[in-house]
Amino acid sequence: MTLPKIRYFLREALQNLWRFKARHLFSLTIICLSFVTVGVVLSLSSNLRLRSRELARDLTVVVYLTTGAPAAERDAVEAAVRRSPLVGTVRAIGPDQALERFQAGFPDLRDILRNLGANPFPASVEAGLKDPGAAEDSILAFLADLRKLAGVEDVQFNRDWAAKVRGVGRIVEAAGIFLGGILILASFFIISNVIKLNVLARRSEIEILRLVGATNSFIRLPFLIEGVMMGIAGAAASLLIVLVLVTSFPLYLGGSLGALRELLAFRYLSLPQILGLLGGGALVGFLGSLSSIGRFLKI
């Protein structure tokens, strides 16, 4: 295909987009809304996935000691933790240190703690695992041994947390794929119908092109390019909206998000995701327009 022909097709497609702007604006809005849904879901689920990966990376076993446990028992627990071949790092946290941590993490709840009077946090021993992916059985046996020790109130292992966050991420992803899929399907049909209307509106033009010896592809290409342009423009507009949402949502909710803010980090989409959305828009536009000219543009 020659450069003048490419230029002609692009110009034709742009002129036609402008000529029938009302209907194109409508379909652009639908495409945009569909891709906003997909974009928000992608951002949310990838953030949750990232967070669950981070949680899994610094997996720790926390051994809570009974309040007022004698120093000998505390030392024995710490020594038992250190002896385990599974453990990499060990850190003893006193009640005051635990209180400080909580106050830093949840500043809104300071008043509640003040009303309680006494420090409710027990001393603990935190053990970082050498290999977070170690066999489940050996970790469970280690936890059971710790629970048997004198002075141990409770043993927590945050692998469950990581699994839960990952699970929520999967649910968000599935819901997003379902909802986004339906909306993208709707976009496909809308593009298809808009192109069908364009074909009907330009019947006489198509007739003239046929009579002056235009090939099928010469007649069809501007319609396909129109569809692709609509798809890309819709997806690009959705990327902007997602950017605004991701930036403004935490600002709008401010401190009320508390610890959730860290969990839902509201990071913008990655480059592959951005390219994926743009490519998806182009594909939806192409297929929508192809299905339409296949059915309504018999040459």
Binding site: P4, L211, T215, N216
Partner: protein, 221 residues
């Protein structure tokens, strides 16, 4: 050269639109197809550019049987033809330049070639000054001249005109026929479908008369 052999055409259950039409139009001829309304003139024209396929018979254009050419290749035949209609069939949203250029764009002409040929064609129909106007800003006579410029811009071997002056007054019709005659003198075979006997008498040429789909030929002038 245009050759038709025993061409029959019937639309569904209607009477025969063309009935055993056999004719030969040699290269470079100036020829009229005439007859009353419904006599099959337009059907004959549409058969020549294969807008319709005859029920029976053969249509040979430039030595090729166009009925044997697959649909996706029929554009190759039409590129050697220029077609002019009674209703001009111009694109109202495109300027005169684009309306004429479209016949060259489908051929993939270079921008330089395209501009040059469009200008030559518009100069031939004396509309070079209206190159950037829209068809709706032109008179009927001017619009038909744009349509003629589009039909001849790629130097076709055959020019087919289906009632080209049906919407024009006698003076403009004369002007348009003069143009056709000029195009014919350059070697293009011209086939004009009209029922205007006065113009036929004045311009002369071969006259093919259709009546109820049957051909009666006679030469005039």
């Amino acid at each position: 050269m245009i050759e038709l052999y025993h061409v029959w055409k019937q639309y569904q259950k209607a009477p025969w639109a063309l009935s055993d039409v056999t004719l030969t139009i040699p290269k470079g001829e100036f020829c009229f197809v005439t007859g009353p309304s419904g006599s099959g003139k337009s059907t004959l024209m549409k058969t020549l550019y294969r807008e319709i396929v005859p029920t029976e018979g053969q249509v040979i254009i430039g030595g090729r049987n166009i009925l044997r050419i697959p649909d996706h290749k029929i554009h190759l035949v039409r590129r050697h033809m220029g077609i002019v209609f009674q209703d001009f069939r111009l694109l109202p949203h495109k300027r005169v330049f684009e309306n004429v250029a479209i016949a060259l764009r489908v051929l993939g002409a270079s921008p330089h070639d395209l501009k040059r040929k469009v200008f030559i064609a518009l100069r031939m129909v004396n509309l070079q000054s209206k190159i950037w106007e829209y068809p709706t800003e032109l008179s009927y006579g001017e619009q038909q001249r744009v349509a003629i410029a589009r039909a001849v811009v790629n130097n076709p071997r055959i020019l087919l005109a289906d009632e080209p002056t049906g919407n024009l007054d006698p003076a403009l019709a004369h002007e348009i026929f003069t143009l056709f005659k000029e195009i014919n003198t350059q070697g293009t075979t011209v086939v004009i479908c009209t029922h205007d006997k006065e113009l036929i008498r004045r311009f002369g040429g071969r006259v093919l008369t259709l009546h109820e789909g049957k051909l009666h030929g006679k030469d005039v002038g």
